[in-house]
Symmetry: C2
Subunit: 434 residues, 2 copies
């Protein structure tokens, strides 16, 4: 199966190589303007929130004291002894985040000792945490998720790690946790992946998932920014995040009674607080036979995210063109690395209009009734692309023809991403580290 | 200072003893109806949320599988060796949650081993936690806060621990964590407090704070209910939660741009996710010279909570009566044990109208301008009662005459609570455990 997939992919890439070359130069020239656009949107959202609350938007934003970052040059490495090495599981048993590699990276922060301490790579072990640590009581914690891919050339690549680090620093700022120099952490992560490189699966259906985590460790009960923290990175060889239906698509449930994020909250930051509160609704959806929750917002039932993914829709727009749409970064939506990459890549495809726009459930149902809705899919680092074929909403069961398209956009997006990630094509998104 | 306070308190109690007797019988007869009222309100809120989202309120609620609880009779105790005992700090150095006692209570939950394991009391130690534990990534965690008071009779009392346990189980349900028999945990907690009873301060200005915590420990990356968990209880001798101004009152800042909780979220459950996201706003308020944040909600700026406390207001109502008001339990507000006790106690005071009602910032400002706003205060287990004398809101600085009242309600409420907690009067709220 993987071999057949791979052959199809290579064939497709050879046929489409010329387009990638076009995209490559286009992305190179447009990435700075896109970044600017995203920042601008955030500012606009802040202003809108302020406006809707009828307050001046001139309130002082917190002044972030830039921390003196830890440095890769100070990294200390203590390798696991041969007897400590774990057997590597079969690819078919991997699941998602069940197995961990032989090493971990730890970087302590102690304000009273001058801040960040020296990074350490050491054998994988349990953390010794004071039971009053703020991370366990007040959810002062955040994480990131990225992957290391073993390419066709046997080289190991990361996918846009700078974007994960940037987002991690934004989450740290929002959580009263210390910030750091993104490039120093990328270098430390590259090193631990090199050390555990035999854990990077020799397969294009599995990868090594990298989980940087930052937790407040100060052991006092005051609800305030912690004076000590721990940044750690663990690695897990993974395959699919979840089992889809037999056709590869998932069914999702939209419950207007549960809300994932809110203006003035932390929906656009990758912090633990966005996830715990979603478990009950996800379990309820599962009992009704759905794979994930479609998170709605507002009286007009705007689509925001699906499960822990960004959501995309393909439809024939009012001008008769095929359009790929995703909700804008309005403060309620995680700025996904996959989301951004899809927007950047697809905006170079001449046969597709790409747009960030508000999508309501009414619009979804209307387009579907008119036969104009072609596809719906979720996108994220863990799942890559997850096609959606069914949406449960109120008393309705909306069937989406995602799997009925001859040349679906979701597959083209997925193939393009995988081609970059596994080194079938050279692209600035993929960073070779080993 | 403590001695003088105590004398004043005793004097006041002797003068007012007859009222307490009245209250006592009244509370005994009305507590069940009040409980019903609170539950009813919750149901109503659910219906309102459903209504506002234009959806039928007939969606199935999750079916909770009742867990077979751990049992106090299975409790195993391993006492600290003499050399492990910590010196007890001076009362003046206590702070809030800086020092911990010699023992802790741990109860493990492993679904694959049949659920709850035997409770254990052991010497206080760091927790050994797998770095992938869901509590550290997805904020699958909740806590409670209650206190053990050393009374005038040297007996140790808890204050309405059944309410904390009830709330803890509701939070567990909401978080995909296992529930338990409240009375079994109260017995285990009573036992550890007995063991560490010399840590219960011999003072009426400090107490032993009890922090039950429940965290998801399953070490896998799926965002779902954990199959393993740890319930632990640690104890900390505490004095004041924070330093107020010289007059004992605090200044609070109301920022309409930040939101603590929202409909469809977890604002009415004591889970970690409600706290981490508040730190940035609290730090910003502190930089502007305020002690806490007043959390508003909605376009009409409804008051919800202040800091991590419930909020109360005393004013002359439209009928010319003195009224004590607090916002209703609408799903955004933590059902505080102190809040409920104040409502129950004060509803028996004949010279005061007590009401749960929506309070907007416009109403606060209007009442204040008309000279009808008398007091504003926060209430919670950690602080007991915290009078508020200033509210920063938009470009305004609202001065509240809380500290200018001859016989303030906040002081009467506080004295009543402390009298019950420290055993100056017998009351069913206070449970003698040692």
């Amino acid at each position: 199966m993987p071999i057949r997939r791979s052959k199809v992919l290579v064939k497709w890439i050879i046929e489409n190589q010329h387009k990638f070359q076009l995209q490559l130069s286009a992305v190179r020239s447009c990435s700075s303007s896109l970044r600017y656009k995203e920042l601008e949107e955030n500012v606009q959202v802040q202003a809108e929130i302020a406006l809707s609350a009828e307050s001046p938007s001139t309130l002082p934003r917190p002044h972030i004291t830039p921390e003196i970052s830890f440095k890769y040059d100070d990294l200390q490495v203590r390798l696991a002894a041969p007897y400590q090495l774990q057997p590597k599981p079969e690819a078919k048993d991997l699941g998602f985040g069940k197995y961990f590699t032989d090493h971990m990276l730890k970087i302590h922060y102690h304000k009273q000792l001058g801040g960040w301490q020296k990074p350490e790579i050491m054998p994988f072990e349990n953390l010794s945490i004071h039971p009053a640590a703020k991370a366990l009581h007040y959810a002062i914690q955040l994480f990131e998720g990225l992957k290391a891919y073993r390419g066709v050339d046997d080289k190991i690549r990361l996918f846009r790690p700078d974007l994960n680090m940037e987002r991690m620093n934004l989450a740290a700022q929002r959580s009263g946790l210390p910030t750091f120099d993104a490039h120093e952490l990328i270098k430390c992560i590259s090193r631990i992946v090199q050390i555990d490189q035999e854990w990077v699966p020799h397969s294009e259906t599995s990868t090594l998932y990298i989980r940087p985590t930052l937790i407040g460790t100060e052991p006092t009960f005051g609800i305030m920014a912690p004076e000590s923290a721990l940044l750690f990175v663990i690695l897990s060889p993974v395959s699919a995040y979840y089992k889809a239906s037999s056709d590869g698509a998932v069914s999702i449930f939209a419950d207007p009674n549960v809300v994932r994020a809110f203006p003035g909250g932390v929906g656009n930051r990758k912090v633990g607080s966005n996830y715990g509160p979603t478990i009950e609704a996800t379990a309820r959806a599962a009992k009704m036979g759905h794979h994930q929750v479609l998170w709605l917002f507002g009286p007009d039932h705007q689509l925001t995210e699906v499960g822990a993914m960004n959501i995309f829709m393909v439809y024939i727009n009012d001008q008769g063109d095929k359009q790929l749409s995703t909700p804008p970064l309005n403060g309620l939506i995680l700025p996904g690395v996959t989301r951004r990459s899809i927007l950047e890549l697809a905006s170079q495809w001449e046969d597709l209009t790409v747009k960030e726009e508000v999508i309501t459930m009414d619009r979804v149902m209307q387009l579907n009734q008119e036969g104009r809705l072609l596809e719906m899919f979720g996108a994220g680092t863990a799942v890559v692309i997850s096609p959606i074929s069914r949406v449960g909403f109120l008393d309705q069961d909306i069937v989406i023809p995602t799997m009925k398209q001859a040349k679906p956009v979701f597959q083209r997006v997925k193939d393009t991403l995988l081609a970059i990630q596994y080194g079938h094509i050279e692209h600035p998104y993929a960073v070779v580290i080993s």
